[in-house]
């Protein structure tokens, strides 16, 4: 099965977790600003935190793994290692986790509770995670081909980590019209009428107010969710190009909203967005962009993610 593991990282967990060097390298690029102090909150989001360490403990019996196994122990350790203060809020809602951190950080800024906020998201795959996805029969030997109309869907899982620094009133880019919707229909499936996708996109459609937006979908490579997402995006934003990048990145789980925000932002900055890596015609009926395309004529992008439980999250990213 396709797994996009950070370079040189062993799949089986160590103590401290073997993903930490990659995370520390990323964190070293965060502009220093007294993160975790009273007016500089940190919003940490993940689906799995260090739960791979609990699997390692169960497998090896080595109690050293336990120090990283719960969300709070993992985040407390990270906070200490990365030199942050204790003003850290932690959110976990599967694959929309990063979106929740962005929204709560935005609200804290708007309420005047912070001058700047750091949103930090990570998820590293482990036997715990792959075992679960495999048990749900979501993984197979195929590579993901997002939005492709084919007999069998496939997804790939990937390591992911990213951060965003948010401010209230300055910066080159803006997040607007952040939206959430939770279907509460089924643990792993969406409503077959696509109402959950539509409900999440409706506020963005209103907020777009005629702006020309390209669409970065969730697009894991599963068939039914891909079909529903394409239909909803097309209904809300007719004829706008749709891309998914999980055929290249893998599905980076709780971090995907932030990892893909970073790519979307760089796409807007450079004027070129990657296409739907891995996807190939025939596609679902929608304006799927298989190849890289010019985004310089667009006003911004819709970035959407979905999660277990029929959770949906999306926002508009544009120049400030």
């Amino acid at each position: 099965m396709p797994l996009a593991v950070a370079g040189g990282r062993a799949f089986d967990e160590a103590a401290p977790p073997n993903w930490f060097p990659a995370l520390r390298e990323l964190a070293a690029t965060i502009p220093p600003d007294g993160w975790g102090t009273a007016r500089r909150p940190v919003f940490v989001t993940s689906s799995n935190f260090g739960v791979g360490s609990l699997y390692a403990f169960r497998t090896t019996g080595n109690p050293a793994h336990l120090a990283y196994g719960t969300p709070h122990a993992c985040v407390d350790w990270l906070t200490h290692e990365l030199g942050w203060g204790a003003n850290v809020a932690t959110l976990s809602h599967a694959c929309v986790s990063a979106h929740l951190g962005l929204l709560l950080a935005t609200r804290a800024l708007q309420a005047g509770l912070a001058e700047r906020a750091l949103v930090f998201s990570f998820d590293f795959i482990s036997p715990f995670v792959t075992g679960g996805f495999n048990a749900l029969k979501i993984l197979n030997a195929g590579f993901p081909a997002p939005y492709s109309e084919r007999p069998t869907g496939s997804i790939g899982l990937g390591d992911g980590a990213a951060f965003a620094v948010l401010t209230r009133d300055h910066g080159d880019f803006a997040l607007t019209a952040q939206s959430l919707h939770n279907e509460m229909h089924h643990f792993t499936a969406n409503r077959s009428d696509g109402a959950g996708f539509a409900a999440c996109l409706a506020p963005l459609r209103s907020a777009a107010n005629g702006r020309k937006l390209w669409l970065k979908g969730h697009g894991t490579g599963t068939l039914e969710a891909g079909r529903l997402e394409c239909a909803a995006l097309t209904a809300a934003f007719p004829d706008r190009p749709i891309v998914s990048w999980k055929g290249s990145l893998g599905h980076t789980l709780g971090s995907c909203g932030l990892v893909e925000l970073a790519l979307a932002l760089e796409s807007i900055r450079s004027g070129h967005a990657p296409g739907t890596i891995g996807g190939a015609a025939p596609f679902f009926p929608a304006a799927i962009s298989a190849d890289a395309f010019d985004v310089s004529a667009f006003d911004g992008a819709v970035c959407a993610s979905n999660a277990f439980g029929g959770a949906h999250a999306a926002f508009i990213l544009s120049h400030a």
Binding site: G69, F133, L136, A311
Partner: protein, 217 residues
């Protein structure tokens, strides 16, 4: 300052009641057959939420440090034949999803939070930042077994739900969050439950930069 008024609450501190006992006690409150796969935490949070009659348009904030400890233990024990049911049930906000999926009750804003020392203040702040007219703040823990032996699971089992809103009329209590420079103290979910059960007032620096006040009206 952020302010929220408490309009209703449901608390369940079940001591050493086993998951089977909780399931038997609460089974009539859920659709027939639904409780078979529900966790003890899912049953308690679900029953607490049910007492507040979730409405369309409510936002939900969920708080738990350890969440589905029993499902997590069972899932880890299921390897190498990993259990799909226990995997999906072990995911953090599953306690809320078990109930609301059973009720087919969609929710707009849903903020599942975790943490420990400052989780209560963080969750109340998240509730205060929701835009919905009513916010259901719910949470709890379930007592673990072999994870508890290693202190990576809760030693108590409880669930709670609070209905919070902006209006003072008819409120039972008032929460406020004010800024402070003083050093924070740990204020965990079990301590919060004890305060609510005893209906004690509270003024505590419950997170860095944040004083949490609770005043019963």
């Amino acid at each position: 300052m952020l302010e929220l008024h408490l309009h209703a609450l449901s608390l369940a501190d079940v001591g050493l009641e086993s998951p089977a006992e909780t399931r038997e006690r609460l089974k009539e409150r859920f659709p027939r057959g639904a409780t078979r796969r529900m966790t003890q935490l899912g049953l308690l949070v679900g029953a607490a939420l049910d007492e507040l009659a979730p409405r369309p348009g409510d936002a939900i904030v969920y708080a738990s440090a350890f969440a589905e400890s029993r499902a997590l233990e069972g899932y880890l024990d299921s390897f190498p034949g990993a259990s799909p049911t226990l995997f999906q049930t072990s995911i953090h906000p599953s306690a809320v999803q078990q109930t609301l999926i059973g009720r087919q009750h969609p929710v707009g804003e849903f903020f599942p939070m975790t943490g420990r020392a400052y989780l209560v203040a963080n969750a109340i702040q998240a509730a205060a930042l929701c835009t919905a007219p009513r916010v259901l703040l719910c949470g709890g823990e379930e007592r673990g077994t072999w994870l508890l032996e290693h202190r990576v699971a809760s030693d108590r089992t409880f669930g709670f739900a609070l209905a919070l809103g902006g209006t003072r009329d008819g409120a039972l209590a008032r929460f406020s969050l004010t800024e402070t420079d003083a050093a924070p103290e740990s204020f965990t979910l079990p301590e919060f439950l004890d305060v609510l059960v005893a209906r004690r007032s509270l003024s505590r620096i419950a997170a860095p930069g944040t004083r949490l006040n609770l005043e019963w009206l």
